[in-house]
Symmetry: C2
Amino acid sequence: MAPKTAVILAAGLGTRLGGKPKGLLRIAGREILYRTIVLLKRNGVEEFVIVTNGRYAPLYREFLEKHGFEAELIINPEPEKGNGHSLHLAKVGVSGSFILVMSDHVYSEAFVERAVKGNGLIADRNPGWVDVKEATKVRVREGHVEGIGKGLKEWDAVDTGFFVLDDGIFSVTSALEEEKGGDYSLSEVVGRAGIEVTFVDGLAWTDVDTPEDVKRARKMLVKTAVKGTGDGFISRHLNRKVSTEISALLVERTSPNAMTAFTFLLGLLSAILTLANLPLSGVLYQMSSILDGVDGEIARAQMRTSRLGGYVDSLLDRYVDGSFLAFLAYSTLREPLWYAVALLALLGSVMVSYSTERFKGAFCRDAYSEISALRKLPGKRDERVFLTMLFLLYPAQASIKALFLLLALITNARVALTTYLISRKVSQSKTI
Amino acid sequence: MAPKTAVILAAGLGTRLGGKPKGLLRIAGREILYRTIVLLKRNGVEEFVIVTNGRYAPLYREFLEKHGFEAELIINPEPEKGNGHSLHLAKVGVSGSFILVMSDHVYSEAFVERAVKGNGLIADRNPGWVDVKEATKVRVREGHVEGIGKGLKEWDAVDTGFFVLDDGIFSVTSALEEEKGGDYSLSEVVGRAGIEVTFVDGLAWTDVDTPEDVKRARKMLVKTAVKGTGDGFISRHLNRKVSTEISALLVERTSPNAMTAFTFLLGLLSAILTLANLPLSGVLYQMSSILDGVDGEIARAQMRTSRLGGYVDSLLDRYVDGSFLAFLAYSTLREPLWYAVALLALLGSVMVSYSTERFKGAFCRDAYSEISALRKLPGKRDERVFLTMLFLLYPAQASIKALFLLLALITNARVALTTYLISRKVSQSKTI
């Protein structure tokens, strides 16, 4: 059971980032704190306590109001002192177990899902997105903190800034208040308490201190925004590598819907271009296929996904493919027989999607998640588009006919296999 | 709250139907009692008590075992006496409120859904599927039974054989046991008790006493087995009228899967026939479109629907349509431009289904139920097939070109409008 309360420490003065509150820094179109609050809410947290300073408090209040979030704001009048004091001040807003997070840490959904189920300090033995030199390290002994600090020589894991504590911790902060006159760090609290450590390894999270960190966090959000259950071979090995770079460039500048519209128009343009220049039309078609990943990546990185967006995108993809094949057939084929092949290629292309989407409609489950063999079957859109581009590089009649024949065979065979796999799965398992 | 227990009276000797237990009579491939038990289970009933006679008991036991149903069997050693005694015997298996039904009544799902929520005697003021002459009538006064019997001169409604009672009724049966030496009818119990009446009017149910009743019950099951949310104009006014007649003929003889396969092959045959005889191919295509309703009707009437069946049927429909357009284009068109139109017509045909099925995949809701305007938009399969048949009756080049152009326009306009309606619906309502 994840705790129902979260304390967010946001009193620190972000001197290396222009003195603005770091929690309100927008990365990939969303404030860091927006992400943290939404992800914690999705994982069962209902009450939020934000400890900040007098100067930032109005800004945080405005932020909370804008998004309709509710949170108790506690003001630390001495933010220049260590952040241990900020935790101590949260005492009035907390009872029982609670989550403690830093306002300048960016966490992925996968990380938060695991971390809320942990205990004590959540530490990462395999951090992929932090500057380890600058990170706070932890030495662990028998599952508890033995040592903690940036300069630790021997250490086991990196402090993720995410804690699952209970109010017993305030006896430690109370003692430190007296000893140190209120000036002590969270690390000192943790070290003194020798709290439990839970390892959550290798999932995406990072902290933000410098402009370089901001860039890294953005890249992390985009790279981990790939959904990918329906990705084919070309997507995994080529399209996604390029599209995530493009998404990282565009994620602060554009909306998912604008990208959907742009990609659709580029796809239509590539179809029309078959009338003029076949190799170029193929290359443009492949470019639109790469860009096709960008709207979804941006939407996920910006936490702006919508089922309607996915719906429209999926319809437009079918229209781009249909138009491309129609224009290509019109501008290259002459014999009725080959037109019939083109008609079957077009039918198969749409049916590849239809066969998996209709499954979702009937069973409310994702076909690719339910039947992993489907992921390996060739014939997905990314593969078809790439194949089309290859065949159009040398646009002889024979190669275009071969392309249509190949598409007709691959796609319709894929649909037949999909139906077979789905029938087998459904008759085997009574849970669907 | 519907009761958790149901008592089924099945001791009567079905003399007019060959002396076999009427509850085990198969109508549309299922025993009457199978239907009743499954429908009651779907509506919250967990315990079943069946009162039968010594001769039928082994047959009922076998039936229960075959279907994995659990029920308490109570034997009435004097079945020739009135069925009031059978109810009295059920006393040992019942406490609190319970449902009482007759084993020789066939109820539709819609009826059972409403009836279980009623109180006392469930009566129908507008019975559509019973022989009123033979039915038990009820006169109602201030919401309670005032008179009951076949020969009643003045009456308000027909007794549906479905009751929602509580164990207080057994004080009435106990009194009648003494008075009449165990020989009294359920009607006498109900009349004496003057129980409450709930009207459930005009929903499908019937009782089975004679071979004519069996036929009527079969027809009722088939006619009420039309799903119809996605039916277009031609389906509602032509196809369904024919298909339900065919289903009534075939429902005892064939399985839904066999019909799906047969209809698919007929559709493919009609596509191939475009090479030889266009008017005939169109007529055959329309015939396959009519038959396309039969597998679903039979499946629902036989209580054998499966999501996999619906899934495969939907894919096969797309392939029939795609093949028909491909073969038709191959055998009639010669100019590239018209092939391009044919490609767009084929694309649109598949996309009409794709656009609603993809909605279901994304939102787990039925587009036609959510957005009723979609039902009125032209361009559904039944309408396209009928249109195709009409244009092929006079198979000149011009009329076939007009057909392809019309199909391309109607279908793709429908998809655009569907997307618009769905977008509007989704942005208006936050509940989707």
